[in-house]
């Protein structure tokens, strides 16, 4: 039988899904064990139990100086920046993408400009942002916006252009104005794609967030990781990394579920 025709049964599929996670965990546990037997005070690969203890301590015990549980404050600060950045990107991207996709005038005016802008490496602009917007929240949010907006604009304008010409003509024969065509024909058709684009942008958004926090912040997940790096506190770093991964995964999952629920007619590609 050909390999392409071998399909796993349900239990096997679940087993195969879980397997890589288990393998990575086992590999880590073995590596950590080897190092810790050689040197009990090794800091590079803390034992899984140590990481668990650290995680419990971080999430339940307050900071010695301020009494605040920094873990949750970090999470809240980072999520706020991320949500603000992605939110602004998505709204601007939607409006500009629709304009480029629907209006030939806007296309001539903006499409090439956006294409060129999207080639600028956003991290290279970070120093400028810090200089212009200061070290506060604004520069971090702006970095996320600059980093994700060109992609969202290009993706959405492309999707808008791909809305079948027939539908636009049909809407015109039903007497729709440009505004109504935007609102009732193009917008609903690119909304699933917007969610898709946001999902794809979450990766870069986290990257920019952590980079900005690493350089200048006083709270935030990225800030904390780079802070405790000085003490080689691998248990804290790993806890934060796992937490960030879980957060990112949950966001992605939520967005996908939302898209399925809100746009049942767009079944393919979600």
């Amino acid at each position: 039988m050909r390999a392409i025709n071998i399909k796993p049964s349900r239990p096997l599929a679940v087993f195969l899904t879980v397997l890589p996670f288990v393998l990575v965990f086992i590999a880590y546990a073995i590596g950590s064990d080897i190092r810790l037997t050689a040197n009990p005070s090794d800091k590079l690969l803390p034992a899984p139990s140590t990481i668990w203890d650290t995680a419990v301590r971080l999430t339940t015990e307050g900071d010695r100086r301020s009494g605040r549980i920094l873990f949750w404050h970090d999470t809240w600060a980072s999520l706020k920046r991320l949500a603000l950045g992605i939110g602004i990107s998505a709204s601007l991207g939607l409006v500009i993408g629709l304009m480029i996709g629907l209006l030939p005038l806007a296309r001539s005016f903006l499409a090439q400009f956006v294409a060129v802008l999207s080639m600028i490496p956003p991290l290279a602009l970070l120093p400028i942002l810090f200089i212009v917007f200061g070290l506060g929240e604004l520069s971090k949010v702006v970095l996320i916006v600059i980093g994700t907006l060109p992609f969202i604009i290009r993706d959405l304008s492309q999707r808008t252009i791909e809305v079948p010409q027939e539908l636009l003509v049909k809407a015109q024969t039903l007497g729709a104005s440009s505004w109504v065509i935007t609102l009732r024909v193009a917008l609903p058709q690119v909304m699933p794609r917007l969610i898709q684009a946001v999902r794809l942008s979450l990766g870069p958004a986290w990257l920019f967030l952590i980079a900005a926090e690493a350089i200048a912040a006083d709270l935030g997940l990225g800030y904390r990781i780079f802070l405790v790096r000085r003490y080689l506190a691998m248990d804290v770093i790993l806890t934060y990394v796992i937490w960030i991964t879980i957060l990112a995964f949950l966001m992605d999952w939520t967005l996908r579920a939302m898209s399925r629920k809100l746009f049942p007619w767009a079944e393919e590609g979600l």
Binding site: E166, L167, A171, Q172, T173, L174, W265, E267
Partner: protein, 256 residues
């Protein structure tokens, strides 16, 4: 006076002529079938009627109105594919036929209720009342085309343009669609233009069959000449209009 007048229309893309010197006039309520080989400008002619394109020369007038520069409410259209809005349910699609002309593209309150009732009547006539709340993607090809026709008629256009509307359907569904279209036309008396590849379909449904072809053909450069209407058949009475005797001949009449 004729209802649709096409006067001396030329259309070329760049330097390549597609159709040349097309003149035709159509009375209100006529069903015009348009046939021709691929690349002979049938679809271009339909786009000109639709005002999706503007002719390089000549003009198309409907009911004496000035030539349109963009598609509008007076022309309804059904394409081979993508003729209904995939993100609206079947009922919403028909309501959209009336509501898209509004400032916000929708009805509110009592208007919405009335429009839904009218939509349900249209759906019942199209045999789609049992799927009113489904999305078009769940319908078969024939049902989608019936919906597209129902939606176009909900807007009450002056003329209805069909661009190979049954081209993607299987033969059985096609026959059912012919009956559906005939019934609908008998009811509304709509002026219809239909582009088709199927000669049998063209003569079966049409009152007139327009044939697009290139009158001159340059073997060195086939794209040098555009196409025009080379034949204009009277297709009533199964394509044999002269079977209906117009004068009293006193010959072979006394069979009964």
């Amino acid at each position: 006076m004729s209802f649709v007048t096409v006067t001396d229309v030329f259309q070329s893309y760049g330097r390549r002529p597609i159709i040349e010197q097309v003149n035709v006039s159509v009375d209100e309520g006529e069903f015009i079938s348009i046939v021709g080989a691929s690349g002979c400008g049938k679809s271009t002619f339909l786009r000109l009627l639709l005002a999706q394109e503007n002719p390089t020369r000549g003009e198309v007038r409907i009911a004496g109105a000035p030539p349109a520069v963009e598609p509008g409410l007076d022309r309804g259209v059904v394409f081979q594919r993508y003729s209904v809005f995939p993100h609206m349910t079947v009922r919403e699609n028909v309501v959209a036929g009336e509501s898209l002309r509004r400032p916000w593209g929708r009805f509110f309150g009592a208007d919405l209720k009335a429009a839904r009732t009218r939509a349900d009547e249209t759906l019942a006539r199209c045999g789609l009342d049992h799927v009113a709340d489904q999305y078009p993607a769940t319908l078969s090809g024939g049902m989608q085309q019936r919906l597209a026709i129902g939606q176009a008629l909900a807007a009450k256009p002056r003329i209805l343009l069909l661009d190979e509307p049954f081209g993607a359907l299987d033969p059985g569904t096609r026959l059912a669609m012919h009956d559906f279209l005939r019934d609908l036309r008998a009811e509304t008396g709509m002026t219809v233009f239909m582009v088709t590849h199927d000669l049998e379909e063209a003569f079966k449904l049409g009152d007139r069959v327009l044939v697009f072809d290139k009158p001159r053909w340059d073997p060195q450069d086939p794209s040098l000449n555009g196409a025009t209407i080379t034949y204009d058949f009277d297709a009533r009475d199964g394509g044999i209009p002269f079977q209906t005797l117009k004068e009293d001949t006193h010959v072979l009449q006394d069979n009964g």
